[in-house]
Each structure stands twice: as structure tokens, then as C-alpha cells.
């Protein structure tokens, strides 16, 4: 069993910025060193690595720069925004099963420059599943997410004003977080309603930030964690999820396109756990686009289908609303690093050291991208 066997014992973050004059490898090394120092672990003790298939800094470069010892496990998780918790879970399983002892998971990314947008590199000829959508002008991830949001709005009688409450709630958290890229920028309902449309019904503020930075975490057994510096964020349960008939980012062809892979992850995560949604003190929900927050809250069973936006409008995800969500500002307002900042914020909440600290946060849910095959972890304090 994986349950309660491993913990996140160190976290490291570089500066976050629109543009950092440094390479991804340089940033990755810095973030990992900060995370190991935070844990109080010498680099030569590291024997396991986990990363994203999208990660461009290879394991051997990381290992020989940081001076790791002999490695006995490494793996990569696919699907970008769906990968962070999957990479973490895989390393945790390697440690729980005895293949390795000290694991590092990292993501380093320079995405601040508009020329690094993945859709802008669309090929002249398409052979993968995107051949069924991109030639018709549905090219960017925001277009793909917007398609589901309009349907959701139609089905449950919402409009843009209702969706605005998601971005506004996260911006308020960022305004209290000095490291957030949007720390000094407030966001009002009229700012949102007057924003330029990117893919109607989604506007500028429904999109995550474009940013540079790196984040790393360190995982050990719970037993080893007892002798280390920090309050461990124990990995209570973990699952990946890919639903029947799933199609990456364009999950349009199953019986119900609004029922994402998150429903699979959630169902297995809760069944492997001692807890239920009502026990969660704080949630970090993957938010490349604002609709992913209401979609995920419904998938993870915090409320019935169709009710999430109503509850968010009533304040559910605010600091005192019952289920604070993305308390650092998330990908919409802190930094976009494929969701790794959601992991570190979950750990900070468990340690009691977050910028906007939720009182007595003992159980934190961290999720990944609702529109891809994905994963989640439930972190708990001692």
C-alpha cells in the first residue's frame, strides 16, 4: 500500500517572472538545490527522479550538475498539465516499494515568451488526433476549453459574470502573495467584463499566465521524514485517471464530454483514502483556464454537477468560504509552471507557512489538468 508511506519533505522555487535571463537547466538546478536544503538532505542521497515528458532538462544533466549519487529509479509522466501529481505519485510508489529512498520531482519552464506557445508550432500536416479539430480553426488549448465552458453555461444557465468569480477569487489571493506575478494588480468585475475576448466565451482573465521559473520537491519515506527539518506533507492517497473514450484536450466524443478524466481520478483517490471531500481543508485545483476549477470541484465531488459556479459566486473558494482554492493565486494569478506551484502551495498550507494560511489546514487536495489524462494527491499533516 502507498497510503501514508511517503511524504513531501522539501520544496524549492526560483523567482517567478515574465522573463528570466537563464536556461531551463540552470533554473532546474537552483530549484532542486533550494528544495534539498529546505529538506536538510545532501544531494548525494538522492536516488530517484520524477519529471514531465514535456521537461527538457534530462535526468543525467540534473544528476551530474547537482552531484547526486547512483540513481535506481526515474520516470516521466505525460500530458503536460496532467503530469505533476502523476510524477509525484510514481516516485512515491518507488520509495514505498523499496526501489529507492530519496526522490526529486521538478519542472523548469520558460514560457514567458509568446514564441514558446505550443500551438504556434502547429505543423503544416497533422497526423495525430488534432487533425479532427485544428484544420477547422480550433487550434489553441483555450479554444478547446472554451467549447466545454459554453456547453456548461448553456446546460446549467450561467453566463460570463458567473465565471468571473473564479478569476476574481484567485486574484485576491495573489494580491496577498508577494511572489505572485499579479501581486500588484487588482481585478474587478468590470475589469473582467471589459477584457478582450480570447476565445468567446473565455476572455484574457480566464487564461493562465505566461511565465518563467522552476519548482522542485523532495520525497522520502515517512520514517525518514521523522529525522528531517520540516513538518512532512504526507502523501495520503494518489491516483491517475483516464476515462473511457478520452481524447487529449478535445474530450468531445464520449457519451458525456462534460464528464472528464478527473471523475476517474477522483473516484479512485477517494476510494483509496480515509477521507471524503468534506474533510478537505484547502484545495489546489489545476487552473490553466478558469473553467477547470468548477469542472474539477464537481468531479472531485465537492458539489453536485452544475452547482460549482453558483457556490463559487457565493464565496465557496474564498479564504473563509469553506473550501479555499488556489490560495497562492494559482496558475491564473501566481505563476504558470504546469501546476507545480499548486503542489508547493499545498505543502506550505500543511506546514502552516503559506502567505494566506488557512487555519488548521490538515488535509490538502492537489489536482492536475481536467482536460487531459490526469492525477491527484491528497496531502495530510501529522
Amino acid at each position: 500500500m502507498l497510503k501514508d508511506q511517503t511524504a513531501i519533505v522539501g520544496i524549492g522555487e526560483t523567482e517567478f517572472s515574465k522573463s528570466i535571463d537563464s536556461t531551463e537547466l540552470n533554473l532546474a538546478c537552483k530549484a532542486i538545490k533550494i528544495a534539498l536544503d529546505d529538506a536538510g538532505i545532501n544531494p548525494d542521497q538522492v536516488d530517484a527522479l520524477g519529471s514531465f515528458t514535456y521537461e527538457e532538462t534530462p535526468e543525467f544533466e540534473i544528476a551530474r550538475n547537482l552531484g547526486f549519487g547512483n540513481l535506481t529509479y526515474w520516470s516521466q509522466a505525460p500530458y503536460g498539465g496532467g503530469a505533476s501529481c502523476a510524477a509525484i505519485g510514481q516516485v512515491a510508489m518507488a520509495i514505498a516499494s523499496g526501489v529507492a529512498n530519496v526522490g526529486v520531482v521538478w519542472r523548469s519552464r520558460k514560457r514567458g515568451d509568446p514564441s514558446s506557445r505550443m500551438w504556434s508550432h502547429t505543423n503544416e500536416q497533422i497526423f495525430d488526433h488534432w487533425k479532427w479539430s485544428r484544420p477547422s480553426g480550433l487550434v489553441r488549448p483555450v479554444d478547446e476549453s472554451s467549447m466545454l465552458m459554453r456547453r456548461y453555461m448553456h446546460q446549467y444557465n450561467y453566463d460570463r459574470k458567473d465565471l468571473a468569480s473564479v478569476s476574481i477569487a484567485l486574484r485576491k489571493y495573489a494580491n496577498s502573495n508577494e511572489r505572485a506575478l499579479m501581486h500588484n494588480k487588482s481585478l474587478s468585475l468590470s475589469d473582467y467584463m471589459n477584457a478582450r475576448m480570447i476565445s468567446d466565451p473565455l476572455c484574457l482573465f480566464d487564461n493562465c499566465l505566461e511565465s518563467d521559473g522552476a519548482i522542485a520537491i523532495v520525497i522520502t519515506s515517512v520514517k525518514m521524514a521523522e529525522s528531517l527539518n520540516n513538518i512532512p506533507a504526507i502523501i495520503h492517497s494518489y491516483s491517475q485517471g483516464m476515462s473511457r473514450d478520452h481524447q487529449l484536450m478535445t474530450h468531445y466524443h464520449s457519451d458525456d464530454p462534460l464528464e472528464s478524466s478527473s471523475y476517474v481520478t477522483a473516484s479512485n483517490l477517494w476510494s483509496l483514502s480515509d477521507y471524503s471531500p468534506k474533510d478537505v481543508d484547502v484545495a489546489q485545483i489545476y487552473d490553466a483556464f478558469s473553467p477547470m476549477i468548477p469542472f474539477s470541484l464537481e468531479a472531485y465531488d465537492f458539489c453536485p454537477k452544475g452547482e460549482a459556479l453558483k457556490l463559487i459566486n457565493e464565496g465557496l473558494i474564498d479564504v473563509d468560504g469553506g473550501l479555499p482554492v488556489n490560495t497562492s493565486g494559482g496558475s491564473l494569478s501566481e505563476v504558470y509552471l504546469h501546476g507545480m506551484n499548486l503542489v508547493t502551495e499545498g505543502v506550505k498550507q500543511i506546514r502552516g507557512l503559506a502567505n494566506v494560511q488557512i487555519k488548521n489546514a490538515k488535509l490538502a487536495l492537489v489536482t492536475t489538468c481536467d482536460a487531459t489524462p490526469n492525477a491527484a494527491v491528497l496531502l495530510k499533516g501529522e
Binding site: S120, T122, I126, W132, R134, L138, V139, M147, H253
Partner: protein, 137 residues
């Protein structure tokens, strides 16, 4: 960034779809053994794992399931067309088969709404590829 529209690459399992499209016919792949329809086309029947397939021509009549209006920044070819409407349409003959295509309307695009009844048309891209799009009835 590419200057032209991205073109679907033709493969063994969807060759007939593009041949039919070039003749302005919308066709749906079926399993030749258990007869289950599937979209998008693929190698194997997910119901019975047969690799034998056949194609049925359909009317193309559809209902608008959802749509978006992309705005810049876009690929240059689409930026020139913006604002345009891309829809996900549900075929009348097969409730759970949904296809992406551009939605064209003689009247203002602001009047397009989910549930609109649509008819298929085809836009020739080259000698091998024509893309389906839909117009309001």
C-alpha cells in the same frame, strides 16, 4: 508559424473519410463485424476489437452542441478570418457522434446558438482534402 491552414494527414484507417469528403459526402466509420459506429476514425473497433471496417454515408444534418469564437493571437491564416465560429455538432443520425467544423451563417454570428439546426457543406483545401463545415438551416 505556418502560413497556410494545417492539413489533416491521410492514413490507412481514414482514407475513405477523406475520399468521401472530396466528393462532398460525410461518411462515418463502422465496424464491419459488430457494426458499431465510431468517430473519430481509428484502427480498431473499441467494442469488439475487429480491425475490419466499412463506411456509411450520412446526411450531415446536425444540431449545434457548442461553439467558440476564437480571437487573436491565432495562426496567421485564422487571424485573417477572425472572428469566425467553430462548432461541435451532433449528427441527427447518431446522437453521440460529434464532429468539429466551422459554422457559417448569413446573419450576424451573434445570433448563433446551441441547438441550432445545421446542414453540412464542404470546403476544398486541395485535391485530396475537403473539410466539412456547417450552415444554419
Amino acid at each position: 508559424m505556418i502560413k497556410s491552414i494545417p492539413i489533416p494527414g491521410i492514413e490507412d484507417f481514414d482514407k475513405s473519410y477523406w475520399e468521401n469528403s472530396s466528393k462532398h459526402k460525410l461518411s462515418i466509420q463502422h465496424c464491419a463485424d459488430c457494426k458499431a459506429p465510431r468517430f473519430p476514425p481509428r484502427h480498431m473497433c473499441p467494442k469488439c476489437q475487429s480491425i475490419n471496417h466499412e463506411w456509411n454515408i450520412v446526411s450531415g444534418d446536425a444540431i449545434l452542441w457548442s461553439f467558440v469564437v476564437p480571437r487573436p493571437p491565432l495562426l496567421p491564416v485564422f487571424e485573417k478570418q477572425s472572428p469566425y465560429v467553430v462548432g461541435l455538432v451532433e449528427l441527427i443520425e447518431y446522437k453521440n457522434i460529434r464532429i468539429i467544423g466551422e459554422i457559417k451563417s448569413n446573419s450576424d454570428i451573434d445570433s448563433i446558438k446551441i441547438g441550432d439546426k445545421l446542414t453540412v457543406r464542404f470546403k476544398k483545401i486541395n485535391n485530396e482534402i475537403s473539410l466539412p463545415y456547417w450552415v444554419r438551416e
